[in-house]
């Protein structure tokens, strides 16, 4: 398996700074090599199902989706539904990366089969550690047999 060419983590995040912080956190823990960052739900769908701008994208080995709840166009909950409803994506672990544990979204996500959720703390060290932990854990758990 050529790891350099394989996309293993999909980050769906509309907030530029949060995305950069997340990427940095993943990088810090050597998880950032195969990350693709998309800015909204529609783009995420295109990427996952190889449609639109991503039509013809080679098949990959997507092993983790980091999903922000609040997204433009197609929001996180809707996206989660689509991921869990599709045969091709159902088994990919989804970690909700959310600004807060407030509201019904978290409960709703659990019902829809989210695998973890991470509240983005203000403290970067803490944030980086949490994102890395969740990412590492699910990447490990979801390791496809060689």
């Amino acid at each position: 398996m050529d790891e350099l060419q394989q996309v293993e983590i999909l980050l769906v995040e509309d907030n530029q700074t949060d995305a950069e912080l997340t990427l940095r956190a993943l990088k810090k823990h050597n998880l950032a090599n195969n990350v693709v960052w998309v800015k909204d739900g529609a783009e995420a769908l295109d990427f996952m199902f190889r449609t639109g701008a991503y039509a013809g994208r080679p098949d990959d080995n997507l092993r983790l989706i980091l999903l922000d709840l609040k997204l433009p166009k197609v929001d996180g909950i809707e996206l989660l539904k689509r991921i869990k409803a599709d045969e091709r994506t159902r088994v990919i672990p989804v970690v909700m990366v959310t600004s807060s544990a407030e509201g019904h979204d978290v409960i709703e996500s659990y019902k829809l089969g989210v695998n973890s959720y991470v509240v983005k703390p203000v403290d970067f060290d803490q944030f980086s550690e949490t994102v890395a932990k969740a990412g590492f854990y699910w990447m490990l758990m979801n390791k496809t047999p060689d």
């Binding site: 700074t17 949060d18 912080l21 940095r24 407030e102 509201g103 983005k120 703390p121 944030f127």
Partner: protein, 639 residues
């Protein structure tokens, strides 16, 4: 006596001539009587006295005294004794004199046997009849006297001087006097003094009045006075009996105190019923099924705006209803009359004066055998109640609408608050994360290019952003508390405090070891929320006592009317003059440098306890420590 056949009538023959005595005696004997003879007036009188003859044959001429003399004496002895005078033939003057003097008859000498016997027999028969009549009279008198004397009513007779001559057993019983105590005494003895004069005048008037009987209660109640001085209410009549020149007044009295009392009680009960009826606007009625005629109580008439004296009946009663009410009452009345089916209706009626009223009418059949003969029931003015019910209904409707409106408003407000919280947590924290994260990146990537002051400044940026993040988190936690529903269960506070202490041990350090927990009463509360209360209070205590060389933290509790819990520490304490700020949100009595914190902890404590219906308070002294108390209602946990 004479009437018994075994004892022949005794006939005394009085004559001075022996032959005459013999002839007469013989004749008497032959006639079946028992002759007794006397030869002189004296002897005759002696025999009359001692032998009590039934009839006397007395010769006018006697040697010792005149026959008329004997006759007079004999009559004086026994007025009823028949004396037949024997006179000389042709001496009609004697005969007339004899009859006038009281002789029964006379026979003339020389006498005719038959004549003598017949006369004697007639005298005897008359005598017997008279005696019998006398006896009967005596018995009758006795009987009447007994009846009179034994009567339960008081029978009192007075003479013309108002002196008591008859006082029967009833009178004795009623007045408490024995007859011998009052006989001959004035009647006034038996009257209350205030009536004596009027009574005397009444009797005098009555004695002159033509009627012989008069009722005494005509002009109101009359009263008697008993021997013990007490008075009683009586009723009776008075009669006057005129016998020759004497007039006797007889009063027949009956003690009616008991009856009066019963009547009074009945009247009072009736008045009470009428009054209660008037107060409750309720009354009763009935009507005769056959005639349709009826009666109703005054109150029922009043409800109809009718004169209570006016006659009523079923037709008249039904005429007060119109429309639906009329249909209902018509059906009900028909069914109660035909099938005996009782009814209980609330109807609208229009009174005689045109007032609209709501009434409740209840009807019950009265049966004779299978047939319903009467219908009786109650009738109540329920206009006020109906009006109140209408008002309540209207109020309820308004209230429900207002509650619905208010609920909708609250729901809207809650939604708004929720979305506000969400955007606060989501949108406000994002820039903070950038502040903190980018300062961190700057520090990591360019730290070696900064001097110490540069790194310090970067540190301040990071601390501030983190602090603001904590503030936002606490604010959200606090607002969540206001919305979270309380699920109260019985909570073992001892276990809960131990659990919290274990959790705090890593941050509390040594202080946790020195914490003293006294036995705490169980509480009826939401465990998760109370857990937060203990976390906040204990971490405060550890925080403020943490700088002491020998921190002392004590948890205590007791139950009085409520369950009271407290956490004391010997830490920095506080100045009581700032007590008002103690439990306010984000109110702090210490600088962040001294003791870090956002100021939400005690506000959360107060909010949780207040939402449980409890209260919080505190005592403190600067540098000596503080004690925080909270009290919870006992709830189901401690009965």
């Amino acid at each position: 006596m004479d009437s018994t056949p075994s004892a022949p009538a005794k006939v005394l023959v009085v004559d001075d001539l022996e032959e005459a005595r013999w002839v007469l005696s013989n004749l008497i004997q032959l006639a079946g009587f028992a002759p007794v003879a006397a030869a002189s007036g004296a002897e005759a009188l002696a025999r009359i006295r001692h032998e009590a003859p039934d009839v006397v044959l007395l010769d006018v001429r006697l040697p010792d005294m005149d026959g008329f003399e004997v006759l007079a004496r004999a009559k004086a002895h026994d007025k009823a004794l028949p004396v037949i005078m024997v006179t000389a033939y042709g001496e009609t003057r004697d005969a007339v004199r004899a009859i006038r003097a009281g002789a029964y008859d006379y026979v003339s000498k020389p006498f005719n046997n038959e004549d003598v016997v017949l006369t004697v027999r007639r005298a005897l028969e008359e005598q017997a009849a008279r005696r019998k009549a006398e006896q009967e009279l005596k018995e009758a008198q006795e009987r009447f006297r007994n009846i009179l004397m034994l009567a339960a009513d008081a029978i009192i007779s007075v003479d013309e001087d108002q002196r008591i001559v008859i006082f029967n057993k009833g009178a004795e019983q009623i007045f408490g006097y024995r007859a011998e105590e009052v006989i001959g005494k004035p009647l006034e003895l038996l009257l209350p003094a205030r009536y004596a004069e009027a009574h005397r005048r009444n009797i005098e008037a009555f004695s002159r009045a033509p009627e012989t009987v008069r009722e005494m209660n005509k002009h109101g109640e009359i009263y008697g006075r008993r021997k013990d001085g007490t008075e009683f209410c009586a009723e009776g009549g008075i009669s006057k009996l005129i016998q020759g020149s004497t007039t006797t007044f007889t009063v027949i009295l009956r003690d009616i105190t008991g009856r009066r009392r019963a009547e009074k009680a009945l009247r009072e009960k009736d008045e009470l019923l009428t009054m209660v009826g008037a107060m409750a606007h309720v009354g009763g009625w009935e009507f005769d099924v056959r005639t349709g005629k009826g009666t109703w109580t005054e109150e029922v008439a009043r409800i109809h705006d009718m004169d209570p004296k006016e006659e009523t009946g079923v037709e008249k009663g039904l005429a007060f209803y119109q429309g639906k009410s009329r249909e209902k009452i018509n059906t009900a009345v028909r069914e109660v009359m035909e099938q005996g089916k009782p009814y209980d209706l609330e109807l609208e009626m229009v009174t005689a004066k045109g007032n609209r009223k709501w009434v409740r009418t209840v009807g019950q059949p009265v049966r004779e055998g299978a047939a319903v003969v009467k219908v009786t029931g109650s009738f109540q003015d329920i206009t006020d109640r109906k009006r109140a019910e209408d008002e309540i209904r209207a109020l309820n409707a308004t209230l429900e609408r207002r509650v619905a409106e208010r609920t909708a408003e609250l729901e809207a407000a809650n939604k708004e608050l929720e979305s506000f919280s969400y955007s606060v947590s989501h949108d406000l924290r994002a820039p903070l994360r950038a502040l903190d994260g980018y300062s961190r990146m700057l520090e990591e990537d360019y730290g070696d290019k900064l001097d110490e002051e540069g790194r310090r400044l970067l540190g301040v940026v990071r601390d501030s952003s983190q602090n603001m993040g904590a503030l936002i988190d606490d604010l959200l936690a606090f607002s969540r508390l206001g919305r979270k529903a309380i699920t109260a269960i019985e909570v073992d506070m001892n276990a809960l405090v131990r659990e919290v202490l274990n959790e705090l041990r890593p941050v509390a350090g040594e202080s946790a070891q020195r914490c003293v927990i006294e036995p705490l009463p169980a509480a009826w509360c939401d465990r998760a929320l109370l857990r937060q209360v203990w976390v906040n209070l204990l971490s405060n205590a550890f925080k403020f006592a943490g700088k002491r060389e020998q921190p002392v933290i004590k948890v205590a509790g007791h139950h009085a009317g409520e369950n009271v819990y407290s956490v004391s520490d010997n830490g920095a304490g506080f100045d009581m003059q700032y007590y008002d700020k103690l439990f306010g949100v984000f109110q702090r009595l210490h600088s962040n440098d001294e003791f870090p914190g956002t100021g939400a902890g005690l506000a959360i404590v107060r909010r949780v306890v207040t939402r449980h219906g409890g209260r919080v308070w505190a005592e403190g002294k600067v540098n000596e420590g503080a004690t925080f108390y909270f009290a919870l209602p006992k709830g189901a946990a401690n009965g």
